[in-house]
């Protein structure tokens, strides 16, 4: 039920709507729950709504953590 997927915003439309690209599949979703989202940003999409914007820097830090690197080494 809480399933949500990271998807790239490719186009902004009227009424807080946006088009996302998910490995080639495009779909219109709502950005009404988030602020400051632009084409190129990744958002977490759940039941047709973006819930949060993904932070690329934090994602890099987490990947570095997996690999056993200190966050400073990954930056």
């Amino acid at each position: 039920m809480c399933l949500a997927i990271p998807a790239k915003v490719v186009e902004l439309r009227d009424g807080d709507q946006a088009v996302i690209d998910l490995a080639g599949v495009r779909k219109e979703i709502s950005l009404a729950l988030v602020d400051d989202v632009w084409p190129g940003d990744y958002v977490i999409v759940h039941v047709g709504y973006a819930l949060q914007k993904l932070d690329p820097g934090e994602a890099e830090k987490t990947l570095a953590l997996f690999a056993g690197l200190a966050a400073s080494e990954a930056a």
Partner: protein
């Protein structure tokens, strides 16, 4: 896919597994509850259990909204739409819109929403709450009821469509609200006799919710770390996220720490999504008590529409009355949702109860502990 594939890398999984194996003290056992069904699913699907040392044990939690929805609530929805069960026949022009997960949950009398639909009830699966509003606009002669279910992840969209419907002046749209709250469920588990007195359920820490936390933030869990001295590590739903969180929990236990740590920092902040939280606070208020399958009546654990939005509250609009319906006697969903039993402890698991013919709700949703184990783990446990 970006932000997916790199969080499923098998080689990195082995690296994290090796670190957990070194960190885990062989002289003790670690029990961690993954609250969310999303985590339960990831653990089963990717075989995370096989990468953990035998003394690191995962306990499934109740974080599957379909699983914890009691039979009575489904019965109430069916009563609204199934013509034959309508004493006054008022339900004939009602269209019930619901997320697909709810369709196959067993209700009373051998029914489910799916079977009610087959008997002629107008029940439609929707991808989004917005679809329910669209149906209400397109079909003004129908009373469109949105069967709203889910934790904090799913609640903001429902709040949004209530406001939208009001702005559009829709008179034929309402919400049957079943939204529930994660922190109250965690508190209820920590207060349960199995954890506090009997010691039959040992919990040394929690893998905290992923997408719920994108909305509510990491702050609501501070209470569990401080009051109950239980470490919480918020984790994403990808397998490496879960592994990393387990490593962080092992380290916290070893160090004698009980803190809230955030592994899912790419999407979760301490405050969460302020816009979404404000919307939810505008539209909903706490219910004094709500029944959860497995947990019973949990105080202040669910939401309902505020008086201001009463016109959009299906329970008030159709004078729907609550029902207490016991679970099937053979079904162990209740104990499984409390972490007391495992799917394989249930007599009907994989025999009478399968994803095609579920007896209990945990076999319905792919996030349910039984469905996850049936789909990905049943042959392993038999071996």
């Amino acid at each position: 896919m970006k932000y997916v594939d790199e969080f499923r890398d098998g080689e990195l999984a082995k690296t994290i597994a090796a670190r957990i194996a070194i960190a885990a003290d062989p002289d003790r056992t670690y029990h961690f509850m993954e609250f969310c069904g999303g985590h339960t699913h990831a653990i089963s699907r990717y075989g995370v259990k096989d990468l953990l040392p035998p003394n690191v044990v995962m306990v499934h939690g109740p974080g599957c909204p379909v699983c914890v929805l009691p039979i009575g609530r489904i019965d109430m929805a069916i009563d609204l739409v199934l013509p034959s069960s309508q004493e006054e026949g008022a339900g004939n022009n009602v269209t019930l819109c619901t997320y697909a997960d709810v369709m196959r949950v067993p209700a009373s009398g051998g029914l489910s929403l799916m079977k009610a639909k087959a008997r002629g009830a107008d029940i439609r699966m929707v991808y989004s709450a917005a679809d329910a509003v669209r149906i209400a606009r397109e079909e003004p002669d129908r009373e469109v009821v949105f069967f709203a279910i889910g934790f904090e992840t799913t609640t903001p969209p429902t709040a949004l469509v209530v406001k939208q419907a009001a702005a559009l002046g829709l008179k034929n749209f309402s919400v049957f609200c079943n939204h529930v709250l994660t922190p109250s469920a965690i508190a209820h588990i920590l207060e349960s006799p199995e954890v506090r007195e009997l010691g039959t359920v040992v919990i040394d820490g929690f893998v905290g919710p992923a997408h719920v936390s994108t909305i509510i933030g990491s702050q609501p869990y501070d209470y569990f770390a401080e009051e109950y001295r239980k470490p919480v590590v918020i984790a994403g739903f990808e397998p490496l996220d879960v592994m990393q969180a387990i490593e962080m929990l092992v380290n916290q236990v070893n160090d004698g720490r009980a803190e809230v740590e955030n592994e899912f920092s790419r999407a979760v902040t301490p405050e969460g999504n302020a816009k979404a939280k404000a919307l939810v606070a505008d539209v909903f208020e706490l219910r004094r008590s709500f029944e959860w399958r497995g947990l019973g009546k949990v105080p202040y654990s669910a939401l309902r529409l505020k008086d201001e939005w009463a016109a959009f509250d299906a329970e008030r609009r159709f004078a729907m009355t609550g029902k207490d319906v016991p679970d099937n006697k053979a079904c162990e969903c209740g104990a499984i949702l409390r972490g007391v039993k495992k799917p394989t402890d249930c007599k009907v698991f994989g025999t009478a109860c399968t994803p095609e013919t579920p007896i209990g709700s945990c076999m319905v949703s792919s996030e349910g502990a039984c469905a996850a184990h049936y789909t990905y783990g049943r042959y392993r446990s038999a071996a």
